[in-house]
C-alpha cells in the first residue's frame, strides 16, 4: 500500500505569540515550531496502514519554508520512507486554496492508495486543505475520521458527528483527514531519529501565484475585561439571572 501524508510545521500551541513587524505574521524569534498535532494522527495512521498491508511506502509532503525540513525529518524518524518539501518562502502567508493547489500539483502523477491529512492545522485553523486537495485530484475525501478500516479496495471510516458516529465507505484511492482519537501517535525513537538521516528528503521549489486570500493585519485579542460582582449569597441570584439574560444573552 502506498500512502502519502501531508504535514505542516506550526508554532507550538504553548507559544506565547507575538505579532511581527509586518503586522501580518507572527514573530518567529524564540517560537518553538513542531509538527501540527493533527498531522501526528495522520502520520501514525499512514504508518499503521502501510504495515497492516504488509508493505508499501509512506511519503510525507509539506508545503512550507526551508525550516519545515525538521518536521519532515521527524516524520521520517517516526517511520515514513521518504519526504518531499515543496519549498516556498510564501507558504506561511498562503490561504488554504493556494496551499491545496501546491500540494495537488506535486501529488498529481504519483501513485497512492491513501492520502492523509490532519483535519486542520492549529495555526490557521481553516480545515480546508485536505478536502480541497482531494477535490483537485478528483478522489473522494472523508474528513474528521476517528476510526479507519481498509479492506478489499475500499475504506470504511467512522466520523464524529454531534453525539454519534457516522460510518461511511469510499473506494481507494481516497483522502482522509484525521481527528483526535483515530490512534495514539508513536514517539520517534532515538534509533528512528538516527535512521532518518539516511532517508531521502527531496526539496523542490514550489511556485505559487498570488494567494486568493490576503492577510491584511493580525491583532492580539483585546485583554479580558474585569469581572463584575453582582452580590453575594442567594440574594444575588435574581440579579445574576437578569444579567445573564439581558446583558450576556446566554440564557
Amino acid at each position: 500500500m502506498d500512502v502519502i501524508v501531508c504535514v505542516k510545521r506550526v508554532p507550538s500551541t504553548t507559544t506565547r505569540v507575538v505579532i511581527g513587524g509586518d503586522r501580518k505574521s507572527i514573530d518567529p524569534t524564540g517560537v518553538e515550531f513542531l509538527l501540527n498535532p493533527y498531522d501526528e494522527f495522520a502520520v501514525e495512521e499512514a504508518l499503521k496502514q502501510r504495515d497492516a498491508a504488509g508493505g508499501g511506502t509512506v511519503t510525507a509532503v509539506s508545503f512550507g519554508t526551508a525550516e519545515a525540513q525538521k518536521e519532515l525529518r521527524t516524520v521520517l524518524a517516526m517511520g515514513a520512507d521518504a519526504a518531499l518539501l515543496l519549498q516556498s518562502a510564501q507558504a506561511p502567508l498562503c490561504d488554504g486554496a493556494t496551499t491545496a493547489r501546491a500540494l495537488a500539483d506535486a501529488i498529481r502523477g504519483r501513485k497512492f492508495d491513501l492520502l492523509f491529512f490532519g483535519k486542520q492545522a492549529v495555526d490557521m485553523d481553516q480545515h480546508g486543505v485536505g478536502p480541497a486537495v482531494a477535490t483537485l485530484l478528483g478522489v473522494p475525501c472523508i474528513s474528521e475520521v476517528v476510526h479507519l478500516e481498509v479492506k478489499d479496495g475500499k475504506v470504511t471510516a467512522h466520523r464524529e458527528v454531534e453525539g454519534a458516529h457516522e460510518i461511511v465507505e469510499a473506494p481507494l484511492p481516497c483522502a482522509v483527514t484525521a481527528q483526535k482519537g483515530l490512534n495514539e501517535p508513536r514517539y520517534a525513537t532515538l534509533k528512528g531519529i538516527m535512521a532518518a538521516k539516511k532517508k531521502p528528503l527531496d526539496v523542490v521549489d514550489a511556485s505559487v501565484g498570488e494567494p486568493l486570500v490576503e492577510i491584511v493585519e493580525m491583532k492580539m485579542p483585546p485583554p479580558r475585561a474585569a469581572g463584575k460582582m453582582v452580590g453575594e449569597g442567594p440574594e444575588a441570584v435574581p440579579a445574576l439571572v437578569q444579567l445573564l439574560k439581558h446583558e450576556a444573552k446566554v440564557l
Binding site: 500551541t13 504553548t14 506565547r16 524564540g30 518553538e32 513542531l34 525540513q69 525538521k70 525529518r73 521527524t74 524518524a77 514517539y187 520517534a188 525513537t189 532515538l190 534509533k191 531519529i193 538516527m194 532518518a196 538521516k197
Partner: protein, 390 residues
C-alpha cells in the same frame, strides 16, 4: 498548569543540530505526557514507576550512545546530554535510572567486557528486559572508593565475593549487579553478578526524603560465587569504575539544567500570577533580582554543558573538565530550587508544585557521583598540580 516554556536566553538552540533538537523534542513530550502526570504521587508514596522502564527503553533512552549492533542508538554526546536534561526536568530519580543503566552498567560492559559479555547483556539492558545497578560505594567508603573492603578471591574457575555496598541505585530491582571488589593484590576488579546468585541480597533503603521515586539499596555479598566469565576482563584498577562515573557525571551536568529549568519555569509563572500588596510578586525588585540570577545561572550552565559536549565528541572531556560542569551545574540547580521554593511561599512546601521535589532530589545529586567538595578538589588539582584529597 501552564505548559513548560524553556529558558533559552542566549538562543543556544542555534548551536544544536536538527537531530539533537528532534531528540530533545521527543524526550520532552515523553516527560510531559508520561512522567509529569504520575511523578508526584510516586514520589510521595516512595515508589519507582516501573512501567516507565520499558517505555524509556523502547524510545532508546537506555544506553543511547552504545553502538547499534549492541542495541544502542549510536547517539552523539550532546544528544545524550539533552536526554538527561529533559528526563531530569521530570525527576532526578527517573533520570538516574537511565544514567545508571546506560553510563554505569552498559558503558562498562561495552568498554571493559568481553565480546560474549557484550552480546549477552547489552541488548537485554537496552531493551529494558534486564535492569542493572552499579555497586561501588560502601558504608565506610564513599568519597574515597579506593579504600573499599569488598573482596574477590579466585577459587578454581570461579571468584568468591564478600562485602557490602551501600546507596546503590536500582539495587533491589536489578537483575544484574556490577560489583567492584579488590583482589588479593589490592587490584580493583569488576564482576557481573546476577541477582539470583546464592549469597547475594539487596535490601531497599527506606525513609529517604530525597530520590523518593528511585530505588536505593544495600548490596550484601556473602560468599557469592561468580564464574571467571562474569569478570570484566579489561577492567583493572580503580580507573575502570572512575571512568564510568565520568560518563554518568557528564549526563548529570546536563540533567541539573533540566531540574533548574523546571523550577525556574514554575516560579516565573507563579510570581507573575501571585498578587502580593496589590501587584504581581514578579513586579518587585527583590523578586526580579532572584529571577535574573536564576536566568543568568541557567544560561551559564547551558554554555558549560554544551561546550563540554563538544569536547566529549572530540574525546577531550577529561575527568577534570567534567568535574567543573557537574560541580557548577548541580550547585546552581540547587540554589535555584532553594530560591524558587522561597518565592512559592507556603505553596512551595507542597507536592502540588514541582520545585520542592526537585529541591529535595538535588540534595542527592549534590552528594552522589562525587560530592561538591570532591569536585572542588579535582579542579583544584587540575589548576595547581597539587592533589589535596588527603
Amino acid at each position: 498548569m501552564q505548559p513548560f516554556q524553556e529558558l533559552d536566553y542566549y538562543a543556544l538552540d542555534d548551536l544544536l543540530t536538527e537531530e539533537e533538537r528532534m531528540v530533545r523534542e521527543q524526550v520532552r513530550s515523553f516527560v510531559d505526557e508520561r512522567v509529569l502526570p504520575i511523578v508526584a504521587a510516586h514520589w510521595e508514596a516512595g515508589t519507582y514507576p516501573g512501567e516507565l522502564n520499558l517505555e524509556m527503553a523502547r524510545l532508546g533512552m537506555f544506553g543511547p550512545a552504545i553502538p547499534e549492533q549492541y542495541g544502542g542508538a549510536g547517539l552523539g554526546a550532546v544528544a545524550y546530554g539533552l536526554i538527561c536534561q529533559e528526563l531530569e526536568r521530570g525527576d532526578s530519580g527517573i533520570r538516574s535510572s537511565a544514567s545508571v543503566q546506560g553510563s554505569l552498567v552498559m558503558y562498562p560492559i561495552h568498554a571493559y567486557g568481553s565480546e560474549e559479555q557484550k552480546r549477552a547483556w547489552l541488548p537485554r539492558l537496552a531493551s529494558g528486559e534486564v535492569i542493572g545497578c552499579f555497586g561501588l560505594t560502601e558504608p565506610d567508603f564513599g568519597s574515597n572508593p579506593g579504600g573499599m573492603r569488598t573482596r574477590c578471591r579466585r577459587s578454581g574457575a570461579e571468584w568468591i565475593l564478600d562485602g557490602r555496598k551501600m546507596w546503590i541505585t536500582n539495587g533491589t530491582s536489578a537483575g544484574l549487579a556490577l560489583v567492584w571488589a579488590k583482589d588479593e593484590q589490592d587490584v580493583v576488579r569488576g564482576f557481573l553478578v546476577e541477582a539470583d546468585r546464592k549469597g547475594f541480597s539487596a535490601p531497599e533503603t527506606r525513609h529517604k526524603w530525597s530520590f523518593r521515586c528511585s530505588v536505593t539499596s544495600e548490596l550484601v555479598l556473602e560468599g557469592v560465587r561468580v564464574p571467571e566469565s562474569g569478570r570484566l576482563p579489561e577492567a583493572q584498577g580503580l580507573k575502570a569504575p572512575l571512568s564510568c562515573l565520568t560518563q554518568a557525571r557528564y549526563g548529570i551536568a546536563w540533567g541539573a539544567i533540566g531540574a533548574a529549568q523546571a523550577c525556574f519555569d514554575e516560579v516565573r509563572n507563579y510570581t507573575l500570577q501571585r498578587q502580593v500588596f496589590d501587584k504581581p510578586l514578579a513586579g518587585f525588585q527583590l523578586t526580579q533580582e532572584k529571577l535574573a540570577d536564576m536566568a543568568t545561572e541557567i544560561t551559564k550552565a547551558q554554555l558549560l554543558a554544551w561546550r563540554l559536549g563538544q569536547l566529549k565528541e572530540r574525546g577531550q572531556a577529561t575527568p577534570a573538565r567534567v568535574s567543573m560542569a557537574k560541580r557548577n551545574n548541580v550547585h546552581m540547580a540547587l540554589q535555584i530550587a532553594r530560591s524558587a521554593r522561597g518565592l512559592l511561599g507556603a505553596n512551595g512546601i507542597t507536592l502540588e508544585y514541582h520545585t520542592g521535589r526537585h529541591l529535595c532530589n538535588l540534595e542527592t545529586v549534590l552528594t552522589y557521583e562525587g560530592t561538591h567538595e570532591i569536585h572542588t578538589l579535582t579542579i583544584g588539582e587540575a589548576v595547581t598540580g597539587i592533589p589535596a584529597y588527603r
